[in-house]
């Protein structure tokens, strides 16, 4: 109930009722007071004037000397006075009392000494007039019927009550109408604001009312909505931008981390290679000296020859580590005809692959020229093809080698590429083998990282590839889905200037 009282509609009606409750009784009593007074004044003045007139006539006739005269005048009274609204007439002369003969006997008992209008009980107004007759103590006493006037007053009072009631009902109805008209636009605004608050930003705030304040309020609120929606949009865009930047930052950081790790590993590998090369010198040379000292038929000779062989293998491994750790473009780059180098290598690849592997090539002959070390590019292709083959050994598959030229603009391309904008030859080597999981992709170019069983691979193949690509100023990426296959993309920068082409050696 308390909650209901707080609504605008209830409040308006309650206030109106309170005002009416105070105002209407006062109005009612005021109106009836004026009506009663005026009726009484008219009635009383009328009967007084009338009585005075009759008393004057009686006084001038000097008729109290004989009883006959009195009776004659009483008859006259009967005819003149009782024909109107008089109900009682008496003349007192000392101890003598004469009554109108037409008078109702009932009034004889009811006569009382009150001469006030509206006295209860008999509805009769009595008044007494002294008669001016020398030598006599005479009075004319009259009674007039009040009931008609009283009835009129009652009816006026009833009409006042009806009128005020009608006024009350009509004003309350009008008020309720007003309340509805005032609250409807407020409710519309409330509904629409709630819709906006719950995320429906397209809701317009408008009202159909003609009340200017509401129209202006709706307009202002709508302006506020526009401003808020604008701010919201901007915040959302900023947030999206921030997310994109953050994502890019994370990718770059990951990349940097990856590069740093490779560099650390490369540096370490270089250091290890240096130490091992020094260690291998005495092993190789002392073994050679020992072999020289041994007789031809000595059984130890075979063992020592194995030492030499192992040392040479170690040398090869170290060479591979050095290839990885070498990061500068050295003077050994000799050829720029990359297409020929790739094609020659693929002839070799075809010869080595079993028939279960379907080799498909798509080489753009005019893809451009790259200053490369032919041997290294050969090794690069061989390593990638060998890895692809390893991924497909179980049931065979398709090996695809694509060569084309691509332009790197630094913006639209894969941001994981660490390349200067420019033109590149892209060599793609793909397979539909078992694929590489994300964790392996992370470390795939690290030296000694291998997924093969112990003894089945050195784990140097891809790190050598990485070293070759980096030393040529290019980059390498891998795209793989476990179970569907992998593709390695090698980017090598194109040579455009004649001066960069190698001078043929003799």
């Amino acid at each position: 109930m308390a909650g209901k009282l707080r609504t605008l509609r209830t409040r308006l009606i309650v206030v109106a009722l309170a005002v009416h409750a105070m105002l209407l009784p006062a109005l009612f009593y005021g109106v009836t007071f004026i009506v009663e007074n005026s009726h009484r004044d008219i009635f009383v003045n009328d009967v007084r004037t009338h009585s005075r007139f009759l008393a004057d006539i009686l006084s001038s006739q000097q008729i109290l000397d004989s009883s006959e005269d009195i009776i004659a005048w009483l008859d006259w009274l009967d005819s003149v006075f009782l024909g109107s609204n008089g109900v009682y007439a008496e003349v007192q002369n000392g101890e003598q009392r004469f009554f109108s003969t037409l008078m109702d006997e009932a009034y004889l008992d009811k006569f009382q000494e009150d001469f006030r209008f509206g006295d209860h009980g008999d509805d009769v107004y009595y008044l007494s007039m002294p008669l001016d007759m020398p030598g006599h103590q005479a009075n004319l006493r009259l009674g007039f019927d009040e009931s008609l006037i009283l009835e009129e007053i009652r009816q006026t009072r009833m009409r006042t009550i009806y009128g005020l009631s009608a006024y009350l009902v009509i004003s309350l109805l009008l008020l309720m109408l007003l309340a509805v008209r005032l609250t409807r636009p407020l409710r519309t605004l409330q509904r629409d604001s709630r819709a906006i608050a719950s995320g429906d930003y397209d809701t317009r705030l408008s009202v159909t009312t003609k009340v200017r304040e509401f129209r202006e309020l709706a307009k202002d609120l709508d302006l506020m909505r526009d401003a808020l929606v604008g701010i919201n949009e901007r915040l959302r865009e900023e947030h999206a931008e921030h997310l994109a930047t953050e994502q890019q930052r994370q990718t770059l950081q990951k990349q940097l981390h990856h590069a740093q790790r490779l560099e650390t590993v490369g540096t370490l590998a270089g250091g290890i290679a240096h130490e091992f090369n020094n260690i291998l010198v005495p092993i190789i040379l002392y073994t050679d000296l020992a072999l020289e000292d041994l007789p031809q038929e000595s059984p130890i000779r075979d063992n020592l020859e194995r030492v030499t062989k192992s040392a040479n293998r170690a040398k090869e491994v170290i060479d591979q580590i050095l290839t990885f750790s070498r990061k500068t473009v050295d003077q050994r780059q000799k050829s720029s005809d990359i297409v020929s180098i790739i094609k020659e290598t693929l002839t070799l690849v075809r010869a080595l692959m079993p028939a279960t592997i379907d080799i498909q090539t798509n080489i753009d002959e005019k893809c451009g020229r790259v200053l490369v070390d032919a041997t290294e590019v050969q090794q690069l292709i061989m390593n990638l093809c060998s890895n692809a083959f390893q991924a497909m050994t179980e049931k065979g598959g398709r090996l695809t080698i694509d060569v084309c030229d691509v332009a790197i603009d630094g913006e639209s391309n894969d941001i994981s590429l660490r390349l200067e904008p420019g033109h590149y030859v892209r060599i793609s080597v793909g397979d539909n083998g078992k694929g590489i999981d994300a964790a392996t992709q992370e470390r795939i170019f690290e030296p000694f990282f291998t997924t093969r069983e112990v003894g089945k691979g050195t784990g140097l193949g891809l790190s050598v590839v990485h070293g070759i690509v980096i030393s040529h100023g290019g980059d390498i990426t891998v795209d793989s889905t476990p179970g569907r296959g992998s593709t390695f993309y090698v980017y090598l920068p194109k040579t455009t200037l004649l001066s960069e082409l190698p001078v043929p050696h003799g």
């Binding site: 090369n277 010198v281 050295d330």
Partner: protein, 132 residues
């Protein structure tokens, strides 16, 4: 009898090269640093000088440069294990092998021999220089 001076910070390498050359009939002297090698050359010149490149103290390139300056006719073989190397701290971490070997060549080495090498290659290099 041709005389060979070996400069290398690694004892094992000095020893094995000494044995190899000694067996081939050369007169051999050894030094563990560039400065020591230069001192020995001053007291007695060698026909062939074999020097390591990556060494603590005075590195091989600097040693070759000084020898070449003092003894313009000296025959020098530079040997290196390659790898990465920082000449300031002698931490085996960051120098370009090929660039370093090239620097040795520019400094005046007659033959550049990457480690590890076999006996035949080494003897061929030494014999080649003593023959001329």
């Amino acid at each position: 009898m041709p005389r060979v001076l070996i400069i290398d910070d690694e004892e094992d390498i000095r020893d094995v090269l000494y044995d190899v050359l000694n067996r081939a009939g050369f007169e051999v002297d050894v030094a563990s640093t560039g400065d020591e090698g230069i001192e020995k050359l001053r007291s007695k010149l060698a026909d062939v000088i074999v020097t390591d490149i990556i060494m603590p103290g005075k590195d091989g390139v600097e040693t070759i440069r000084e020898i070449r300056k003092e003894f313009p006719d000296a025959k020098i073989i530079a040997i290196s294990g390659g790898g990465n190397f920082d000449s300031d701290s002698y931490e085996p971490n960051a120098i370009k092998t090929t660039a370093y070997l090239a620097a040795a060549g520019e400094a005046g080495a007659d033959v550049i021999l990457p480690k590890p090498f076999d006996r035949a290659a080494f003897m061929e290099a030494v014999s080649g220089l003593t023959a001329t």
